[in-house]
Every structure is written in structure tokens, then in C-alpha cells.
């Protein structure tokens, strides 16, 4: 494959000739390049978080603990072979959707949203399960022939995406719902959905936008209006966007220096350890800093692309591709909202924003990617 050679840089110990023995790391199903890139990103994240949390080391420790747990989860997910995932796909999806329904009926209310299920330390968000369940389910269905999918199958897939996405939006958690919807659509796209179907769906979606408006919660409508014109309410709903643009802009090329950002340290920037941590990075480390951060993200994405391109069957390929795209969609939505090109929807910056739940799901998805990479049967190239 001509394109794939581009990614050989990340594959030095993978590309071999003939039947070779697996390395130690491959035998324990850990993909070293991906792990190293993820750890580099996590480390970068610690540096920014330390400053964003007003030099509170306890916060960084807590985040390190989250990441340690999440890496363990990743290790466990990496042990499970792609075939097992293929077998469990339907079950996981159905369980996830039922849990999502039950959250609407009996979930905990936090910050005006019903997202949580369970008690104490075992509270979790079913929508996080769906982040894995939808790619699994779609990959399972689409990898059955015919590929590219027939029209009927395409509609079925839209339904599979739509039900949990709408349920999540009802919680309300618009950010996750959008990530789910967009990711799901990308799986269809990867499976070779016809361009005609894509363009028709886009048109239908566009015409449904007004309908969506009426289905929105008041605060969601406000966010959209604010996105269109933040100065409409500079001290209210427009405050986030204005302050984050000020933080980024005042950073300039070299930034104000680590621990020197006034926007975050004097608390002008809201949610500076979570959703808006990217603005802290831009203020203190400048354009250079965000460029390096984006470069690290691109390195991870490149390895993901390599794994996708070298996956050995259609299920693995679709799954790897969709999980990678989900990673990109989250980070793009986060950066987009912080820079003011997308409306403010609560999507954290993967691996950098403080918080445990989404981190576990994220690293679990990387565990699946590692599983796909390391469970390959080695064949002569």
C-alpha cells in the first residue's frame, strides 16, 4: 500500500519480513509508539494542569491517579482480542442503551443534568459506554457483507446512532451527543457509504436544524446564540468565549510564561482546569505551546491511522478508524469552542482536561486499538 509507507516512521519495529517472533511488548499486547505518545501527551497535560489549577499539586496527583487507573483499563482492553469484541458488540450496545434509558428515569442530577448512574465511587455515565458501544456495533454490522452498505443497512445504522445520541442529548449532554453522532456517521463514511447518501443526509439534517432548535433546552439555545455573537451578553453567557479568546490572544507567539497567565490565575477564565484548559496553554505557552500540543495529538493520530490501515479485517479496520476519529472529533470540538469557531458544548480536551470518567473511556478505546494492532497474525508482507 503506497499510502501506508508514509506511516512507516511509526512502525519501525512492526514492519518485518517473513514470519518473525513478536516482541515482548506485543506479547503483552501493548503498542509502544502509541503508549509513548499518550504518556507524552499526559505529561504535557500535567504541566498545563499544574498551572491551571493555581499551582495545586494535589490536583495533578489526582489526575495522575486517574490516568494510572485509565492506563490499567487500557491494558485490560488491549488483552481482549478483536474477535471477542466482535462477538460482544451487539450485547454491549444494547446494555449501554438500556442503561442510558434508565439514567433518564433514575439518574443523579449534577449541575442540572442527569448523567450519572450508580452510587459513591462507582458512579458512571452510561453515555461514556456508548462512546465505545456505537463504534463496536456499527463496525460489527457494517463489516458483514455487503460492503459498501446497502441503503436499508445505512438507514439501520442511522437508527443505531440516532437512538443513543438523542437520549444523551436529552440528559442533557449535547457535547457527548454530538461526539457520538459525528463519530457514528464517520464509521458509515469509512465503510464506503455512497456519496449520494452522504449528501442527501446532510441536506436532510440541514433542513431539520430548525426542528432541532425547538427541541433544545433554553441554556443550549443560549449557547448557540452566544456563539453567533458573544458580545450579546459579555458578562453572562458570552463570558466564556470572550475570556478564552482574551487568554489565547494575550498569549501571543511565546506566551506569557508558565504560571504567569493572568486570565487563569486571576480566575477570569472559567473552567480553566477542565473544558477551557486549552486556553491556559495558549496564554502561558503561546502559539509555540499550542503548536507543540497539536503536534503531539497529530503524532497519536498518525499511529492510529497506521493501525487502521494495517488492520487485518474489515471489522478491525472500521473499529480502529472510528475510535481514532472519535478521538479527533473530541479534540477538534474542544479546540474549536475554545478558539471561538464552534459553540460552547461541554467536551473536554482529551487527556489534558482534568477529570476521570471520559479519561477511562478514552484510554479504553486506545486499549482496543492496541488490541487490534497486537493481535495481528503475522504474515509475509
Amino acid at each position: 500500500m503506497k499510502w501506508a509507507t508514509l506511516f512507516k516512521f511509526f512502525a519501525t519495529h512492526d514492519v518485518r519480513r517473513g514470519f518473525a517472533k513478536k516482541t515482548f511488548w506485543e506479547r503483552i499486547h501493548i503498542d509502544m509508539p502509541l503508549l509513548l505518545c499518550l504518556l507524552a501527551l499526559a505529561f504535557f497535560g500535567f504541566i498545563i494542569l499544574y498551572s491551571a489549577g493555581n499551582e495545586n499539586f494535589a490536583l495533578v496527583e489526582q489526575q495522575a491517579l486517574h490516568i494510572a487507573v485509565a492506563v490499567c483499563v487500557m491494558g485490560i482492553f488491549a488483552q481482549i482480542s478483536p474477535h471477542t469484541y466482535e462477538r460482544w458488540a451487539v450485547g454491549i450496545y444494547i446494555t449501554g442503551t438500556i442503561l442510558l434509558l434508565s439514567v433518564l428515569v433514575m439518574g443523579h442530577v449534577n449541575k442540572g443534568a442527569q448523567r450519572w448512574l450508580g452510587a459513591g465511587a462507582f458512579r458512571f455515565q452510561p453515555s461514556e459506554i456508548l462512546k465505545l458501544a456505537i463504534p463496536l456495533m456499527l463496525s460489527y454490522i457494517l463489516s458483514r457483507p455487503p460492503l459498501p452498505p446497502s441503503l436499508k443497512k445505512s438507514f439501520l445504522c442511522l437508527l443505531i446512532i440516532g437512538i443513543p445520541a438523542i437520549l444523551t442529548a436529552k440528559e442533557p449532554d449535547l457535547g457527548t451527543a454530538i461526539v457520538l453522532g459525528v463519530t457514528g456517521f464517520f464509521v458509515l463514511f469509512l465503510a464506503g457509504l455512497s456519496w449520494r447518501f452522504i449528501s442527501v443526509t446532510c441536506l436532510v439534517c440541514a433542513s431539520l436544524l430548525p426542528l432541532l432548535w425547538y427541541g433544545m433546552h433554553d441554556y443550549q439555545r443560549l449557547r448557540v446564540l452566544t456563539f453567533l455573537n458573544p458580545e450579546r451578553d459579555p458578562l453572562g453567557s458570552g463570558y466564556h468565549i470572550i475570556q478564552s479568546k482574551i487568554a489565547l490572544g494575550s498569549g501571543g507567539f511565546l506566551g506569557m510564561g508558565w504560571l504567569q497567565g493572568s486570565q487563569s490565575h486571576l480566575h477570569f477564565l472559567p473552567e480553566h482546569t477542565t473544558d477551557f484548559i486549552f486556553a491556559v496553554c495558549g496564554e502561558e505557552l503561546g502559539f509555540i505551546g499550542v503548536f507543540i500540543l497539536i503536534a503531539v495529538y497529530l503524532a497519536i493520530l498518525s499511529r492510529c491511522a497506521y493501525i487502521t490501515l494495517y488492520a487485518q479485517d474489515s471489522f478491525s479496520r472500521l473499529l480502529a478508524g472510528s475510535l481514532s476519529l472519535m478521538f479527533f472529533v473530541s479534540l477538534f470540538i474542544n479546540m474549536g469552542m475554545v478558539t471561538g469557531v464552534l459553540p460552547v458544548v461541554g467536551v473536554p480536551l482529551p487527556l489534558v482536561s482534568y477529570g476521570g470518567t471520559s479519561l477511562v473511556t478514552l484510554l479504553a478505546s486506545f486499549g482496543i486499538l492496541m488490541s487490534i494492532q497486537t493481535h495481528r497474525r503475522l504474515v509475509p508482507s
Binding site: 460492503l147 464506503g192 479568546k245 498569549g251 486571576l266 497539536i294 471561538g340
Partner: protein
Amino acid sequence: MSRFVFKNPHQEKRIINQRVIIAIGFILLLVLFLLTRLAYLQLFKHSYYTNLSKQNRIETVPITPVRGLIYDRNGLLLARNVPVFSLDITPSETVDVKQTVEALSALLPISDDQRKLFYKTLRQQRRFQSIPLILKLTDEQIAVFSVNRYQFPGVEVKARMLRDYPQGDELAHVIGYVGRINAADFAKLDEANYSSSDYIGKTGLEAYYENELHGQVGFKQIEIDASGNIVRTLKVTPPIPGKTLHLTIDEHLQEVAIQAFGKFHGAMVAIDPNNGDVLAMVSVPSFDPNLFVQGITQTDYDFLRNNPARPMYHRALNGLYPPGSTIKPFVGVGALGNEIVTPQERILDPGYFKLKNSTHVFHDWNHTGHGWVDMHRAIVVSCDTYFYWLSLKMGIKGIDQVLDAFGLGHATGIDLLNEPEGLIPSPAWKEKRWGQSWYPGDTLNTSIGQGYMQVSPLQLAVATATLSMHGQGYQPHLVQSDATLRYQADFTQMSAYDDIITAMQDVIRSPEGRGFRFGRNAPYSVAAKTGTAQVYSIKDDATASSLEALRDHGLFIAFAPVENPKIAVVVVAEHTGETAPVVARKVMDAYLLRKELSS
């Protein structure tokens, strides 16, 4: 659809990988877009956002300058600033002002007056300005409030400088007072310079010298966090305190004069004829200016305003009285100086004067007549008939010209606001004001200081000082400054001054002199003239019931020592003929004898 669809792994791989490549391209495009956006914000709009960031965190806080102090000529402190801790409420930061006040009253004693005053100020002021509810907190009250502070957003203990007048009512009219800046004041002043000031001079010298006393506001640049807490101070421009005023007033004279007035009302002005220094400027009754600083309560204000004695009225400056016979020396100087009469020319006074072609009789105050009267005797016995006769020779124009030269009927330009002009009547004025033509009788009345003529005690004092200096008059002033010559009453016969001054001396010395109440035993030479102002207005006033209110005002002008005048005094004592010379004597003794003792 067929159940037997064969998997074609190679074709599937081709389809998927093709899409993956497209997705990679798409991702790169979006990343490029993000980078462009970041470059726009961080590189292209960098300075714009840097500016906004600074605006976010840097705040400029004004520092109030300390108001200038006021001393009298002997270095006695007349106006000072006392630090107090007050309980302030900022309406814009308070949810419900009324509720806050009620809640506070459970904690601290708040009187009805304080409450009323607070709500009155609340109506006059802008919402973001803090208003004191309790002006002087005790240490204990501060402690009580501090413990409960968290319950009261928008309420704070504020340290401020309160203006204080230790001499109380003795100089209330001259120094005036400061009061809280109200909306009307704000329209007139430099807002930047007053951004943190609570008080502004409302009357007297406090108002006239407001710019000098206030000083220049200072600024402090502070860094604040999003909750408005101060993180650190970045830069300080210290305020320039207001200038100290050194007055020409001798507070001791003030005190002596007020005591000498006793129960009577009136005004006294003492001037140093050599330079125009106003040594004393008394108006009784007076009021306590400290009441206004703290914000006057309605009860106090009503009491002052409705008091028939009008304690707020500055009689020495704004009080206009007919000068009566005190005008005679000035008319006399003019007549002799301009050679209208000679000192030897005399008339026989039968006790009245009749105009040709008229049956109307103008009486002398002594209806039996003074016999043969020349200029000297006319001053000594204050003969009206002589001046009736003289006025016809001078004509109204001649009289007005002389009085004008002494500055009568004109504002003196003293450093106080709202000085009235007074009035020296003329045919043109009468025509304009009353639409009537001038009669010879009007001229007669003018020559003895009755009728339409109205002058203020200050004007009369300035004229007396000018007379004492043989026509050299200085600009009167309350704040020490260089002497500037303002009046120059020169005549062809300058010996006229000596003639008149000798006659004025005899007002005191001669057995038939009218100034006997001054006492003939003064250890210094003194020239003087008495006068009586007829109380027309009150006679016409139906509400004037007491007999005392119908009595004429007594006037007295004097200067001493004659050879080298050091003090010129004018006293107006309302509704009494006896008090004015006594007041003048006590003030002159206090000034001249104390000076001799110390030198």
C-alpha cells in the same frame, strides 16, 4: 437481497483504506484551519487581546487628597480634618437597601435622624457612590460589625477624613462649611479630580477657595482577580494635598466682638487700612458649621431656616443697610475736597429745612435746631440740616461721584462668593426701578444716608479704611496676600481729609459729640461717626409685633490711631442705638492694646 454474499477482503480493504485516506486529508485540513485560527488570535490580534487582558486585571483606584487646613493670622487652627470610621452602604452593590438598614439596626444603634439623613442622601446621590449610615463608629461597633460583615454585601467600614471646625460658630459665615457632593455639584466640577472625594466647599471660604483646598487626586493601579479582590499594587501616583490657607482674620477679635454684641444681632467688620487685611468679620447670630459636614438633620435645618433671627444670613457681607449719618464724613470730604463749600461756611439751623416752592419740611434729628453750624460742627453733632443745605449745592451727581470714589454701592471684590452690590440711588436708577423722576427731596435723603441707599457693613468698612488713609484704599481680603491698591479718592483740596478726620475725632472728644458711648477715655486717638438706619421695611411689615423689631439700627464707623491708622471698624447693631459703639471700643481695645502689650 441474496443470503450468499461473499466477503471480498481485498476489495473491502481497498474501499475502507481509500476512505481512511480521505478522512486523514479531512483531519489535516481541519487542523490547518485550527492553526490558522490560533495564528489569527495569537499573532495577528495579539496586541488587541493583550489590551483586553490588562483591562480585565488592572484597575485604577483614586486616592482622595487631604483637604487644606485653615489658620487665622496668629496660627490658630480654624478648620482641620479628623479621621473617623464610618459605616458605608453602596446601593448598587446591595440587594435591598431598606432591608440592609433594618438588619443593621438590629446590630448597631441607628437613630431616626441618621436613618432620615441616609435616605435623603440616597435620593440625591448616584447609586455606585457609598453613603455613610453611621458616621462615627466606636471601636466596639467596628468589632461588632466586622464579625457579621459577611451577612451584608455592599456594606463596609470606611476610614475617611471628616472636616471639623474647632471654633464652631465664631467663623461660620466667613469660613463656611463643606458638605457632601450632590448631583448638582457634580454637574459643575471636574469629575476625575473628585472621583473619590465625598465633600465639597458649599459656602464661605471653603467654597471660594475650593480648588486650592481640595488638592489633586492621586491614583493607585492595582491588579485584581475576577472576584474583584486586590492581588497587588502596581503603581501609585500620590495625591497632592490641598493648600493651607492663612487668614487675615484674628480669631480673638472675632470672639471679643461676638461677646460684646450680647443678646443683640448685627455685624462687625474690622480692616487693617494699610493693606486691606480683614481682621474680623462678625455676623451674629451664627450657627455651628459642623452640623452641615455630617449632613444636617431635617430638624436642625428647619430650626436654622425658620429662625426669625436668620442665623445663616451673613450680615457683614450680604446684609444691606441704609448707612444713615455714617455717610456724612464721606459727603463732607467730597464737598470740601471739591471746593463746594469752605470749612468756614456756616448756616443757621432752625431744626428743619424747607425746599423752595415746597411746603414739605425736612426735619433735623434735633427738632430744636443746632444754631450756627459749619462743616466741623455738622459732623460732630451730626447735623442733618447742614447736609440738606449742602446736598443742594452738590447735587445728586456730585454726591454719587464722591460715594462712588469710596466704593460704596459696589461689591468690594472680597474673596467670598455672592457679594451684593448695594445701592447708591441716582436719577437714572430711580427712573428705571420705579419709573419715577428724581425729586430734590431724594437728594436730601441721600445726603444723610437714608431713603433708597443701601450698603453692606463690609463696604462701609472699606470706605472707612480708605478715608482713614486719606483716600488710599486697599482691596479687602480674607486670605493673606500682598496689598493691592484698589480705591483712590483724590480731591483738589486734600486738606479736606484732615478737616473731616479732626471733626470725627471730636465726635468722641467733644462734649456735644455723638460718639459718647464709645467712651472718651481711649488710650489711643480715634476718629468715629455714629449713624442710625431707619427700619422702614419692618415698620411696614404687619407681622412685626414686638416693639424691639421697630427700633432703628445703630451704626458706628471708627478708625484708630488717627495719626497712623491700624484698624478701621464698622459695627451695625440691629434694633439698638447703644451697642454699636461699645462693640467697636472693645474690638479696638483688644486689637490695639494687646498689640502694644506684646511689642
